[in-house]
């Protein structure tokens, strides 16, 4: 049993990302003017500087870009090995999440694997982790 994950400090811009999982939603900021995505969240669109931005719910699926199997016990109590991965989100070009791949052996994944989100809830924060989709 791992210790609690480190918590983000919530603000008006990142709250929808970190708490969307309460409704099963993976939310990423999108610009209503240029339609591009902004992550990490900001008070403006990093593509066109518009302030007309709002969270959008994505399908919650994605593709594994690359990963590493971490063996080093950096933090007391965290079980090793575990997978740290970069996931490209379907529906949000250019947005990459650093996350964990769970529910499979660490040697059962490779780049280009299709993955889907699930949420690891800890005290009101819904951490988006991923599992293989097939």
């Amino acid at each position: 049993m791992n210790p609690p994950r480190m918590r983000p400090r919530l603000d008006d811009y990142n709250r929808s990302f970190w708490t969307g999982g309460a409704e099963g939603k993976l939310n990423i900021q999108r610009c209503n003017d240029c339609d591009q995505y902004v992550h990490p969240p900001l008070p403006l669109c990093r593509h066109c500087q518009s302030e007309n931005i709002a969270p959008e719910t994505l399908p919650g699926t994605g593709t594994l870009d690359t990963f590493t199997v971490n063996h080093q016990p950096w933090y007391p109590g965290v079980e090793v090995p575990y997978v740290i991965a970069r996931v490209r989100l379907d529906g949000a070009p250019g947005v990459i999440l650093t996350t964990n791949i769970v529910n499979c052996p660490v040697d059962a994944i490779q780049p280009e694997d299709k993955v889907r989100v699930l949420f690891d809830e800890q005290d009101g924060i819904f951490f988006p982790v991923f599992e293989k989709a097939d």
Binding site: R7, N14, F67, T68, Q72, Q110
Partner: protein, 388 residues
């Protein structure tokens, strides 16, 4: 010597060790004294100070001495001092000094990087770790997933080379093997690397974060390194053979480690050549940041020594990058073999080699051109150093 150019005119370094007890300000003083002796300058001729990343209390020992503190302690009459982490990696502190002397604000600038992480971690009462608490900023998007170390972030790019380009551990191993082989010829590395590393030892080492094993990661060390940058019209005041900063390039694509497509070497590398009448064919030695063994591969590719996705083949077998090879890499041992000097060691060694002062590790011939780099991940800086 052109008066409108900037030159490195002195280099110095303290003892390099692990869990040293000498105060970090005194280590910095040791390096300053050596650099002054080297250049023939005296403290009253120094009129600028530059460092990276400026004084920080957390992480403990990461940067225990700041520019203003050094000015206070040594009585430097500084006209322009600089220290900050919001730069394109460590060597940008030297780049700032280059700009200061070219602008005519300063004549001789002390650039320094003091690291004290091994010592600080062994004395937590004196150097307390951070208080923790909720994560602000971009770290909130990596740390909750136990991506705790820069090694985890770099390892993911390294694994791209494994899966996309077929990099094998035996190929990556050449960076660490070369580092420890060269370190045996560097007296200042003796506290860091005791003996050469064999392929068997490398292959059987414990994994840190795939594909990086223990030998692919530098280790905390305690040291100060000083580089003196002088204005071209002040060279008559120094006694050393000056080394010209012929070009420099930096890059940061995204501030967020988790959003960058590739390390910044691929952006900074091509820019370096745009500013100078040199090409990769002119380079006699490369001193590439190797906090993690994969990073030099990104510099070989980013600077155009080989195609993207082929650096593991470029270094295969290790003969090309050896001291007696066609493109000697990290002749002092790099950070893997000579300690985590955090960037400045690569500039230091470039100057030593270009002046022919490498002793047992001196490369053959009459080297005139070196490239020193720092950084990995989203930020990077490269210096093209030339002995005219």
């Amino acid at each position: 010597m052109a008066s409108n150019e900037a030159y490195i005119t002195g280099v110095g370094q303290s003892e390099v060790g692990v869990r040293l007890t000498r105060h970090p300000l005194l280590l910095t003083l040791d390096a300053v004294k050596e650099a002054l002796d080297d250049s023939g300058l005296t403290l009253d001729q120094i009129d600028g100070v530059s460092t990276y990343p400026g004084k920080m209390s957390v992480p403990p020992g990461f940067s225990p001495v700041g520019s203003d503190e050094l000015i206070e302690a040594l009585g430097i009459k500084s006209k322009w001092h600089m220290g900050g982490g919001e730069l394109p990696a460590q060597l940008a502190a030297i780049g700032n000094a280059v700009m200061a002397v070219k602008q005519g604000v300063c004549r001789h600038v002390i650039c320094f990087r003091t690291v004290y992480e091994a010592a600080a971690q062994s004395r937590p009462d004196e150097y307390p770790p951070g208080k923790g608490g909720d994560l602000p900023g971009v770290m909130q998007y990596t740390m909750p997933f136990w991506a705790m170390s820069a090694s985890n972030w770099v390892a993911q790019y390294a694994n791209r080379h494994v899966y996309k380009y077929g990099m094998k551990r035996e190929q990556l191993a050449q960076i660490a093997l070369n580092a420890h082989r060269n370190a045996q010829l560097n007296p200042r590395a003796r506290n860091i690397s005791k003996k050469e590393l064999t392929m068997d030892e490398y292959m059987s080492a414990r994994m840190i974060t795939t594909p990086l094993c223990l030998w692919d990661c530098d280790r905390f060390s305690d040291c100060s390194t000083v580089i003196i940058v002088s204005a071209g019209d002040a060279l008559d005041e120094v006694k050393t053979t000056p080394v010209r900063v012929a070009a420099m390039a930096g890059s940061v694509d995204r501030y967020s480690w988790d959003q960058v497509e590739w390390t910044a070497a691929y952006d900074a590398g091509p820019d370096l050549w745009k500013q100078a009448d040199y090409t990769v064919d002119d380079v006699d030695t490369v001193q590439f940041y190797d906090g993690f063994a994969f990073l030099p591969l990104t510099w070989f590719e980013g600077l155009g020594f080989c195609e993207k996705g082929s650096a593991h083949e470029f270094i295969e077998g290790g003969t090309r990058i050896a001291i007696d090879g066609e493109l000697p890499l990290n002749t002092f041992g790099g950070q893997l073999g000579a300690g985590r000097l955090h960037g400045f060691g690569f500039a230091h060694e470039s100057v030593v080699q270009l002046r022919g002062e490498g002793g047992k590790r001196q490369i053959k011939g009459d080297p005139k051109v070196a490239v020193a780099t720092s950084g990995g991940g989203p930020m990077a800086a490269a210096l093209l150093l030339v002995r005219d």
